[in-house]
């Protein structure tokens, strides 16, 4: 998937296979079945082009990324996914207040 996004535009199984083979020993059928899997899971769209399929990502990496972040940043209630955030973000005045007090706490001891 990373490859297909980096490639941009549409590509056939043959295109990707040639690209990958330059780097490592990989079977054509492996690439084909992987791309077929991604198509069936809704990550890739494909259209027939002669004998082969031409594949293209359904959405860009940025679109998926944005969707994930929307889900992650949504206040509870919007999403039911269980995400354990490291820490919630604060806004400007809150941040300033926290920093001031922590600096006092850290610096003000013998």
């Amino acid at each position: 998937m990373q490859r297909i996004w980096d490639h941009g535009g549409t590509l056939t199984v043959r295109d990707l296979f040639e690209e990958l083979r330059a780097e490592r020993n990989i079977a054509y059928t492996t690439v084909m079945s992987t791309m077929d899997n991604l198509y069936r899971k809704g990550w890739l769209a494909r259209e027939r082009d002669g004998k082969a399929y031409r594949y293209a990502p359904v959405a860009t990496r940025e679109e998926y990324s944005a969707r994930l972040m929307r889900e992650a940043m949504a206040e509870a209630g919007d999403t039911e996914a269980v995400l354990s955030h490291f820490v919630a973000q604060m806004d400007g005045p809150e941040s300033a207040a926290l920093r001031a007090v922590i600096d006092k706490l850290a610096g003000g001891r013998p």
Partner: protein
């Protein structure tokens, strides 16, 4: 019927008042494990009592059913309809109505709970899958990551979170990477791995679904408190592995969205940089209950912040930073654990004790 009423009364009291008892004891995370156990025991105790009460009221109705129908029949037929029979019919009718209501309520609650758990599990897994495919692999600055895979997503807002799934994912935004130095990033990753290793997502799923199905104080407040304690528990694990200063600094950096050097707090007090202090042998029970002996406490960090300056969700940050910077003394930790263990025992013993007393 007496048993059922006693248990139901207990369940209602505990559901409304247990939070008031538990919240002050677990607030500062002086005893994380005992705190988690106490909250979960309170929830289990209420659920079991309510279930037993409902089951027992059902049995009462079933046993008295012939009597009830006979009484109804007589009252319709007139004839032998004495006031005593009439009153009895009213009583039986009331019992039946109560049992039916309870059955309906519990069915609705169960259904809502199940649907909620299922939906949240599906969304969580799909989020993890997508994150792993979309994110760029993040290589741990020090070593390879065992277990969950960590990925980086492009987003200017600093954030880090983990999401359970098969496999699980740890997501760090590019915004977070710009405000963290390598030891701090290691601390963040250790914190998230601790969540996954300890199965905190299961606790979150169950308690949040309970809160959605039965929105009474014990469950709504309990879900929030369990989440807070899980954060503190993960903090403890991460602090044990990498030391407290980088973790505390990482908390501040991500919360405020600006770099915060670990050395700024590493020099504070007795904190040794990079390794747990000598007074931190039992990482299961650290924290700050009260500023113990030897601390020149200037009041709690969270209370010295201006009231209302912090949103509810952000309130955990000062508490967590404070317990990393100023862990409680051993004595106050022990006291807190003891109090929580007593509470836990009382909560666990209440339903069987009530059943025995009422059955006499």
């Amino acid at each position: 019927m007496i048993t059922a009423l006693a248990l139901l009364g207990y369940a209602a009291c505990a559901a409304w008042w247990a939070p008031a008892l538990l919240a002050p004891l677990t607030r500062r995370g002086a005893s994380v494990r005992a705190g988690l156990a106490a909250w979960l025991a309170a929830m289990a105790s209420v659920l079991v009592s309510a279930a037993v009460a409902i089951e027992s009221s059902f049995r009462t109705v079933a046993a008295d059913w012939p009597q009830l129908t006979q009484a109804l029949c007589r009252s319709v037929a007139g004839g032998a309809c004495t006031p005593a029979v009439y009153r009895s019919a009213l009583y039986e009718g009331g019992v039946t109505a109560l049992a039916a209501t309870l059955a309906l309520l519990s069915a609705v609650a169960l259904w809502r709970y199940g649907r909620r758990v299922q939906r949240s599990r599906a969304q969580t897994r799909s989020h993890a899958r997508t994150a792993l495919l979309v994110g760029r692999a993040l290589t741990d600055p020090a070593s390879g990551i065992a277990g969950a895979r960590a990925v980086m997503l492009d987003d200017p807002r600093p954030a880090a979170y983990c999401v359970a799934g098969r496999p699980a994912a740890i997501v760090v935004t590019s915004g977070a990477l710009t405000v963290l130095d390598p030891p701090q990033l290691r601390a963040v990753l250790a914190h998230e791995r601790a969540h996954l290793a300890h199965g905190h997502h299961v606790l979150a799923t169950v308690t949040r679904a309970l809160a959605a199905a039965l929105p009474v104080p014990l469950f709504t407040r309990g879900a929030a408190e369990v989440a807070r304690l899980a954060e503190m528990s993960a903090d403890d694990t991460a602090a044990r592995a990498n030391g407290r200063p980088p973790l505390a600094a990482a908390l501040i950096a991500i919360a405020t969205g600006a770099r915060y050097p670990s050395t700024r707090i590493a020099g504070a007090g007795h904190l040794g940089a990079g390794h747990p202090g000598p007074d931190y042998p039992d990482a299961g029970h650290p924290g700050a209950g009260h500023p113990g002996a030897g601390y020149q406490g200037t009041g709690h960090l969270s209370t010295s912040l201006p009231r209302g300056a912090l949103a509810a969700t952000a309130c955990a940050v000062p508490d967590r930073v404070e317990r990393l910077l100023r862990p409680a003394s051993r004595a106050s930790r022990t006291a807190c654990t003891l109090a929580l263990t007593l509470t836990l025992t009382a909560l666990a013993a209440a339903p069987p004790a009530l059943t025995l007393l009422a059955a006499r």
